[in-house]
Each structure stands twice: as structure tokens, then as C-alpha cells.
Amino acid sequence: MFEGRMAKIAALLEGSMDDSSLAQRICDVGKVLLSVEGMSLSIVVHRVLNSDVGTSKEYMFLDEQQFTFGQGPTFDASLSENPVEASNLDSYGDRNRWPIFAPIASSKGIHSITAYPLRSGNESLGVITAYRKSHLELLPSEYVDGLTLGVVASNLLLMKLSGNIDPDLQEILGPTMQDQSIIHLASGMVAEQLNITIIEAMVRIRAHAYKTDQPLSLVSNKIINRELQLDAEEK
């Protein structure tokens, strides 16, 4: 049912190859993929949401407004496991939910928003947000594309946190492939051993894979088979 979605996103990212960062390209591709006016990426730094990139400054501004006032779909998505949809920011329901932010968005010509949480386990990495000038909701297939793009964006954020500042496209598409479950198993082991959070453990494992130039799945397997132990000091 969902075959080919990742391939489609990969092809779009491939095609957008220019000097801009992968994060920027993810936003650019999202805009086309979801047929929306604007797309943004926010990331959690020290437990606080920060605007990172957007298809234009306008959308980064709207992200920032939400963090300033502590309300809005993007803000809510960072605390949620589910995507948050505002299908009509001029409606009573949306205005009631986000009394300060909804009028700000409307005044900028934005009338509906879908925000996808980027998560790993029970922790938030950030949010990607689709901004629309119409009241139209996303089509179901666009909604699913958004979820899939969120997986790519999460991978990118995990890579960056691991010290791989400039990963190539294959690396951020790669870990979504077959071996997902072993990466999570290994992360649990490292989290327990070093008494750190799951995301910190994922970052440690990715950093080790990056530094020693080994595939993530191989490093995960070594941890599971207890052939490799990451130590507390290694950074």
C-alpha cells in the first residue's frame, strides 16, 4: 500500500541537488510533495524548540511565533506522538485552541497547517510543518508522504547530533531500511549501560558508526552480540 513512497522522496531529494543543505532540501521537497505554500523544520535543542530552516523566512517566523507564545500546531506536535492538523485557522475551533497564534497565521495569509512530530521513542527531535494558504486539508496520500518525509528528517537530525554534520543522501535514507528494529534494541542496551536517554544512546551509536566508518546495522549488531561496548567518556 505504501510501496515506492520513500523512492519518490529519494528521487525528489536527488533532483533538488544544489548547494543548499539537506535540511533546506527536505523543506523544498516537502513543499512540492504536499502541494503547500510553505514548509519548515524546527529542531529541539536542549529541550527547547528552535526554528532551523524553511522554504522562506516567513514560515520560520511563524514557527518562532508559536514557540514564543507556546501555542500552535507545530508547538503542539513537539509534545505529541500524532501529527497535529489545523484545517481552518479562521474557525472557532482553531481560534479557541490557539487564541494568540491562529490570528497571527491568518494575518499572514496562512489558513491551514499540518505539523508532523519527529520523534524517536518517547522523545522529540523536532517538527516539520506544512503551511497552506487555503482551508483545504491535505489529501490522504499527501498526509502519508508527510509522515514519510518526517522519517527522513528524523534521520537527518540524528545524524547531525552524532557529529555527522554533512551526511549524504544515502545515509539519511539508509537507516529507514530493513534493520530498524536492531538499531532500537541496541539503543536500549546502550541507554541502560550508560544511564542515558534513548536518543542520546542512538546518537552515541551513530557517532561511533560515523567515526569508525562502519554501517549502523553492523555497529548495532556488535552491541547486541556484546562484541562492542561504548564507554562513557567516548565522545
Binding site: F2, E3, R5, M6, L147, Q178
Partner: protein, 253 residues
């Protein structure tokens, strides 16, 4: 004792547990239980109601990649993973085509020689894969690993169990809404990931294998009457107030 009372009612040996399984399924589906919970229960029950040694459930994630969601034994998990990684085998084929696949030969000259050799090494002589399918759309497969051939009647039971798994993903929604199914699939895989993380933590804590760790989590879930996923969340967030905490902080079982 009257004549009626002493009449022997003929029955299939497993019919009682089969009925129980469907009652439990109906209950978890109607109470809106998480798909992860339902699928994981289904894979366990399958080996109780059918003469198969192991079972596993695969679903295709929102990116189009197959994921193992539940397996009744370590070897079933391994055989499912092998098929995904090598893109060969009856279950992989079933997910690709949506057709039920059976292989009772597992021959080294067949369509998937490497898979067959591995399955035989683990003591299986037959593999069955039943599609999780609705309205021509394939969501995944229920896989059976057996040491004997199954009768046609039993295969029909297996397909009914697969249909129950499909229903849990459709949230009993007869109209297949792509968005609802995608959400469900997405969160089922997220839950699987959280359970894997919790397994990792417990396996490290007690220096046991991932499978022993999972068994421990399942036991805790039973003893505390909490869902597996709830126990797993409590483990990864180190929630000391959760009733499962005491069960999982000492080495005694």
C-alpha cells in the same frame, strides 16, 4: 446422570482455545487496543490454536519497507528478518503479491534456496504465509513455521487470524481510508520500536538475551495488568512510579 449429559460432544482439540482467541480478539478490537498489542497477541495465539511451531507478523511501513512487528519465537523473528534483508522467501513473496504462499518442501533447489536451508536448520519443514489483505490492498503477512503440513481447514483458520490482524490495522473501518491505515501502521511500528528499546534496556540490566528480556516484559505486563506497550514506555522513561518498576528492578523473577 442423564443420557444427554453423558453424550460425548466431538470437538477439534484446539477448538476451545480458538473460540477463546476470537473472543479476546473481539474484545481488544472493540476496546480500541493498540495494533501492536493485538498483533503481538495474535502471533502468540496462532501457535496455540494451530499445529505450527512458530509464527510471525510482518507489515509494510509507510515508506514501503517490510518490518517484523511480532514473532512467537526467536527463530521466527530471525527467519522473517532474513527474508526482508535478502528479499527472498515465501513471506516476502506473499507481501509482494498478496497471494497466500505455502512451501512444504523447503527444497534447496526451489525458489528461495537460502531461506529454505535456514528454515530447515531451525527444524522447520514447512512455511506458510497468509496475506493481511483488504480490498486488494496488501498490508503485510502472517507467517507460519511448521514441522508438519497443515490441512486446508487449518489454513482457513490461519487466514481468518490474518484477517483479524488486518482488521486491527483498519480499526474496524470497512472503508479503507489511506490516512487512517497509514497512521495505524506508523504508530504500530513506533510501538514496536519502543518495545525493542525496552527489550534492550532489560537485556542489558540483567545480562540476558533480547528474547529473555521480552519474556520478562510480557510477564510483567501480565502481573501488573498493564499493556506490553505501557510497560515498555515505563521502562524507557525510567518511570519509578509505574507498577512495573519493582518487577523489573530486581533480579528475582
Amino acid at each position: 446422570m442423564s443420557a444427554v449429559d453423558s453424550k460425548v460432544i466431538p470437538e477439534l482439540p484446539e477448538s476451545g482455545s480458538l473460540a477463546r482467541t476470537f473472543v479476546d480478539l473481539a474484545q481488544s478490537l472493540s476496546s480500541g487496543q493498540d495494533s501492536y498489542e493485538v498483533l503481538s497477541m495474535l502471533s502468540q495465539r496462532t501457535v496455540e490454536v494451530l499445529p505450527v511451531a512458530s509464527s510471525g507478523i510482518l507489515i509494510t511501513d509507510q515508506a514501503g519497507v517490510l518490518q517484523v512487528i511480532a514473532a512467537s519465537s526467536p527463530s521466527a523473528h530471525l527467519l522473517d528478518l532474513f527474508q526482508i534483508q535478502n528479499e527472498e522467501g515465501p513471506c516476502f513473496e506473499c507481501c509482494k503479491t498478496g497471494e497466500a504462499i505455502s512451501d512444504v518442501l523447503l527444497s534447496e533447489n526451489g525458489a528461495w534456496p537460502r531461506y529454505s536451508a535456514l528454515a530447515r536448520k531451525h527444524g522447520y519443514t514447512a512455511t506458510y504465509a497468509l496475506p493481511l489483505r483488504s480490498k486488494g490492498v496488501v498490508l503485510g503477512a502472517l507467517n507460519l513455521f511448521a514441522q508438519m503440513e497443515l490441512s486446508l481447514e487449518r489454513l482457513l483458520v490461519a487466514q481468518t487470524l490474518a484477517d483479524a490482524a488486518t482488521l486491527s490495522l483498519l480499526q474496524l473501518d470497512p472503508v479503507m481510508d489511506l490516512e487512517i491505515v497509514a497512521r495505524k501502521v506508523f504508530f504500530t511500528i513506533e510501538e514496536r520500536n519502543i518495545v525493542e528499546q525496552a527489550k534492550g534496556m532489560i537485556s542489558q540490566r540483567f545480562e540476558v538475551t533480547a528474547d529473555v528480556a521480552f519474556e520478562r516484559i510480557r510477564q510483567t505486563s501480565k502481573q501488573t495488568s498493564c499493556h506490553i506497550i505501557e510497560v515498555a514506555r515505563a521502562i524507557i522513561s525510567r518511570d519509578i512510579d509505574h507498577p512495573s518498576f519493582a518487577h523489573l528492578s530486581t533480579d528475582s523473577l
